[in-house]
């Protein structure tokens, strides 16, 4: 049986952050219930396909999952259990805002089987939080983590952001230290990206954003600091204490299969990548009428799969292996290796005798390196190297 991750999208938030372009909005209690019902229908419908799989990760993301209330979240989780075979050691994560949880609610979630909680902390600096449109304070984060511990969560993650308006490297490191001080098992560190159509992107020249160089310095300082504190980097933006990496997120980067439910949720099931329509009302409606919910669908062929292995694998600290490319994807590796070697000279890649990976400096320019590697892959596509054979183009 194939392992499967389940993603549940909750497209609601109590307030919209200034940088966010994900699909979410504020709802009413009634809508929350309606939506929960629609999701449950959808999950039960998936039963037809579920017999091939064993679910080993479940992830509630958003939006703010806790916005719809713990009761609804637990009902949805129960539906997953009814529809799928769920592994005993299944990792079950819920995202939450630091000021959207209560001790009672957290306890309920924990009892229902949630074992991992991820708080959007973003910064410890009050004015930075204000610019982002976050409604919580660092005090809220502290309290939320305390409560989560009381509720017996032994796997807590905090999200941080760098490259914020007016942020200095010092203030960023202060936030990082504040986060480390709360002793979470996992820390994610994302750079702020201005997304078109968000309030923050309207007048970028007025934001005093740190330069690319300053942002690079922040990132590298964070990598060092986290390593010193025992957080191992396992992906561009993700760091974890030993054994605490997000197994669900790892699926995205290692071509593991996952099925996302809810509007705008993305899936990789078998060879198909698909996503559902973005509009919540239409999504709910489609669940009632058995209408069309697919927004986009694409079947990934062998070479597409190999490209994804390169593109996603190079995001991880494990990196990619020439052996896998040649033996699993039957792809000629030499051209790609040349690219990686070129970046090795500038300190952007590393080779351990088996795997090629990007260094932290390399992660910072990963778009460039991955782009070059994919071009090399495209150029090698007409070259064939059968298993154990050494037929060269010359």
């Amino acid at each position: 049986m194939t392992p499967l991750g389940i993603y549940i999208h909750i497209p609601f938030c109590n307030s919209k952050c200034a940088y966010c372009d994900f699909y979410s909005r504020c709802g009413t209690k009634n809508e929350y219930n309606e939506y929960t019902e629609a999701l449950i229908n959808h999950i039960l419908e998936a039963q037809m396909r579920s017999s091939d799989y064993v679910v080993d990760t479940i992830y509630f993301g958003g939006g703010t999952p806790t916005a719809i209330g713990e009761k609804n979240l637990i009902k949805i989780l129960a539906a997953v259990y009814r529809s799928f075979r769920v592994d005993d050691g299944c990792e079950i994560t819920c995202e939450a805002n630091p000021n959207s949880v209560t001790l009672r609610g957290l306890k309920k979630l924990r009892r229902a089987g949630f074992d991992r909680i991820s708080f959007g902390m973003q910064s410890a600096d009050a004015s930075e939080l204000r610019v982002l449109g976050r409604t919580h304070t660092f005090e809220d984060v502290k309290t939320a983590v305390e409560w989560a511990r009381k509720a017996k969560f032994s796997n807590i993650s905090l999200d941080l952001m760098y490259g914020l308006p007016s942020q200095s490297i010092e203030s960023f490191l202060d936030s990082l230290d504040a986060a480390i001080g709360l002793m979470p098992e996992h820390i994610s560190c994302y750079s702020l990206k201005l997304e078109e159509g968000t309030p923050l992107a309207e007048r970028p020249e007025t934001l005093f954003l740190p330069s690319d160089d300053e942002q690079a310095d922040m990132y590298l300082a964070a990598v060092t600091r986290l390593r010193d504190e025992g957080y191992e980097q396992y992906e561009i933006s993700n760091f974890a204490k030993e054994g605490k990496l997000s197994r669900h997120n790892m699926k995205y980067w290692t071509l593991g299969e996952y099925w996302g439910f809810g509007p705008s949720a993305h899936s990789l099931v078998g060879r198909k990548r698909f996503s559902y329509i973005r509009d919540t009302a239409l999504y709910i409606d489609a669940m009632h009428t058995h209408g069309e919910v697919i927004d986009r669908i694409e079947t990934i062929n062998d070479s597409g799969r190999c490209g994804e292995y390169l593109m996603l694998g190079l995001r991880t600290a494990a990196g990619i292996s020439g052996d896998v490319l040649e033996k699993k994807y039957l792809t000629y590796f030499d051209e790609i290796e040349k690219v990686l070697l070129k970046y090795h000279k500038t300190g952007h890649t590393d080779f351990d005798g088996h795997n090629w990976r990007l260094t932290p400096e390399g992660f910072l320019i990963s778009n460039r390196i991955i782009g070059d590697a994919l071009d090399a892959l495209e150029e090698s596509e007409h070259l064939v190297r059968p298993l154990n054979g050494y037929i060269r183009k010359d």
Binding site: Y7, H9, F22, G61, Y190, S191, K193, D212, D213, Q215, A216, Y219, I236, S237, K251, Y252, W253, Y258, G260, S264, A265, H266, S267, L268, R273, S275, R296, E308, M311, L312, R315, Y343, T346, H348, E361, F363, L364, I365, S366, N367, R368, I370, G371, L374, D375
Partner: protein, 601 residues
């Protein structure tokens, strides 16, 4: 054959946008030369580009039959003239084919520099210049003021000038009567040996070159052997005829006074230069018609295909354009940065733009062009004199005894309020002030001597923006002057980029070098290592910028397993990469080469 006393050969002179083509269309319509159904606006301008830019690039002629109020039928030959300073010579040859000119003046704008230049040209050719006041339908029209202006400035009577609106079709009849009444019939006897002036030619893949001409004396018939007096080429005439607004009519003969065409299985327009005199092979005229000169390109630029593999396509396209455009010159050149291309010579900036646009549109080529250059004359210390059109061939400073650059006499007409701005601009472009002439209380004509190489760098754009579009410019080459010129080279990461070198006056070198380095910095993306951009004269660095090493280009999040964004981003990146040129170790986007052509933006 038409009665000679009933022939009227004339052209229309107007500033861009003053309505020349619209008037031509109305005249055609009025003579029932075209039915309304056939009427497509502006029949005479048949190139897309001409229609878009509102200018005529190539001259053409049509013959109309007009039944006048006096009961006589007149033959009207309307010869269109190119409407831009770059094509001054072609204008003059078109004028030489006429006895009269309709001078179209916008009833609200009044006279402009180009109108004046072409009017003087017409007067020089002894043409009867008949003013026509157009656009009287506009609320701001003031025909009486404009008539006064014509009399004061040009000194020709304007009291009988028809006030018309070509657009609305008002008073078109008056224009035709006026033309028939005042334009003299052609002189010249059909008994004399043949002399005809070529004013245009066009290549047709079935018939060879179609030569447009005006017969001054004698006759030309199919089967006759002819000779071109300047080029010395000889041909046997295959067909003669004249053009109708739609199609053409073949004739047995074209006689003195008539305007038409002939074909003679001519393979190349270079054999039939505009201005050349056609005469009989057996009974030649003793003297050619006056005024012929070879057209020489004034502005040069390297033209390269963006995709090196398209070089043969570019060559074919230039070959084809050349069939119709004797003034275009090109020869192969190669650049370390841009690969194989051509050094092309153009009459002027507009001609250059037109050719580049035609190459891109009609031949679907993606081009990179280098900064335009003029012809510099350099005397080397060993006595050799060089004519330099490509900065790469500029000798070392130590080998130069003197260098000269071409100057133009420029005339700028503008409302008086912009005098200060114009003077400032001309000053800044190393202009030498000659004089100011007040045309009336509100308008002024400024005369400057300007180096041509200052005009070819966005002078038009600067003039327009400094006068809110009101000023008009005309210029002609006035000769060469000694000048303190230097060659500026650009080094990227220590390596010279040949395609970016240019020749500049030493006083301008620092400012331009600085601006160029800044502009390149804006356009060259950060790469794995730091890239110094240096501008040098000889071995001396006069400007420097640095493109810092790339440190951050990352998509932080693959949210909820959505990898489509990431894929899109990588595709976009790939598109960008295709537009890069590898210069040694540095990747330079193609638009960087184009951006340095527009330093003032």
């Amino acid at each position: 054959m038409a009665k000679k006393e009933n022939i009227r050969n004339f052209c229309i002179i107007a500033h861009i946008d003053h309505g020349k083509s619209t008037l031509a269309d109305r005249l055609l319509e009025h003579c029932n030369a075209v039915t309304e159904r056939e009427m497509e606006n502006q029949l005479l301008d048949d190139m897309d580009l001409e229609r878009e830019r509102g200018i005529t690039i190539k001259a053409r002629a049509v013959r109309l039959d007009y039944l006048a109020d006096d009961g006589e039928t007149y033959v009207l030959n309307l010869i269109d003239t190119p409407g831009h300073v770059d094509f001054n010579y072609e204008v003059s040859r078109s004028l030489a084919a006429c006895e009269g000119a309709l001078l179209v003046v916008d009833a609200s704008q009044g006279i402009e520099a180009q109108t004046l230049a072409n009017t003087y040209l017409a007067i020089e050719h002894d043409l009867e210049v008949l003013p026509v006041i157009n656009k009287i339908d506009l609320p701001s029209a003031d025909p009486e003021r404009v008539k006064g202006e014509i009399e004061d400035i040009i000194g020709i009577p304007a009291d009988e000038a028809p006030a018309i609106s070509a657009k609305m079709g008002i008073n078109i009849h008056d224009v035709l009567e006026y033309a028939v009444k005042y334009i003299p019939a052609p002189k010249g006897s059909e008994k004399d040996p043949l002399r005809a002036i070529i004013f245009d030619s066009r290549y047709d893949s079935y018939r060879g070159v179609i030569v447009y001409l005006r017969v001054m004396e004698g006759e030309i018939r199919p089967g006759m052997k002819i000779k071109l007096m300047a080029s010395g080429a000889e041909f046997e005439v295959v067909e003669t005829g004249y053009m109708l607004p739609r199609g053409e009519k073949k004739t047995d003969v074209l006689s003195a006074g008539e305007v038409g065409f002939f074909t003679a299985s001519i393979k190349n327009v270079t054999d039939t230069q505009v201005g050349d005199t056609v005469t009989g092979y057996d009974n030649p005229a003793s003297e050619p018609l006056p005024g012929y000169r070879t057209v020489r390109p004034m502005v040069f630029s390297g033209v390269y295909p963006a995709d090196g593999a398209k070089y043969p396509d570019l060559r074919d396209a230039l070959d084809k354009l050349k069939l119709n455009d004797a003034s275009l010159t090109y020869e192969p050149e190669s650049s370390a940065a841009l690969g194989f291309g051509f050094r092309c010579g153009f009459l002027g900036l507009l001609h250059m733009e037109v050719i580049q646009e035609r190459l891109e549109r009609e031949y679907n080529l993606d081009l990179i062009t280098t900064a335009p250059s003029v012809i510099y004359k350099v005397k080397k210390t060993d006595g050799e004199i060089l004519q330099i059109t490509n900065p790469l061939n500029y000798p070392n400073p130590s080998e130069i005894e003197w260098a000269e650059e071409p100057f133009v006499a420029a005339s700028i007409i503008s409302p008086t309020e912009y005098i200060g701005n114009i003077m400032e601009l001309c000053q800044e472009r190393r202009g030498e002030y000659k004089d100011t002439k007040y045309l009336d209380q509100t308008r002024v004509e400024l005369h400057y001597n300007l180096p041509l190489n200052e005009i070819i760098y966005d002078f038009f754009d600067a003039l327009k923006s400094k006068t809110r579009g009101y000023a008009s410019l005309d210029y002609e080459l006035s000769g060469y002057r000694k000048s303190d010129l230097v060659k500026l080279d650009i080094l990227l990461n220590g390596d010279p980029v040949d395609a970016l070198s240019f020749i500049v006056h030493s006083e301008k070198a620092y400012a331009r070098a600085r601006r160029l380095a800044e502009k390149l910095k804006e356009h060259i993306p950060r790469q794995l290592f730091e890239i110094p951009i240096q501008a040098t004269i000889g071995s001396k660095i006069i400007a420097r910028e640095t493109v810092k090493a790339l440190r951050k280009d990352v998509l932080a999040k693959c949210y909820g397993g959505d990898i489509t964004r990431k894929k899109k981003l990588l595709e976009k990146q790939k598109e960008g990469k295709k537009r890069m040129r590898n210069l040694g170790s540095v990747e330079v986007p193609q638009d960087a080469f184009m951006a340095v052509l527009k330093l003032d933006e």
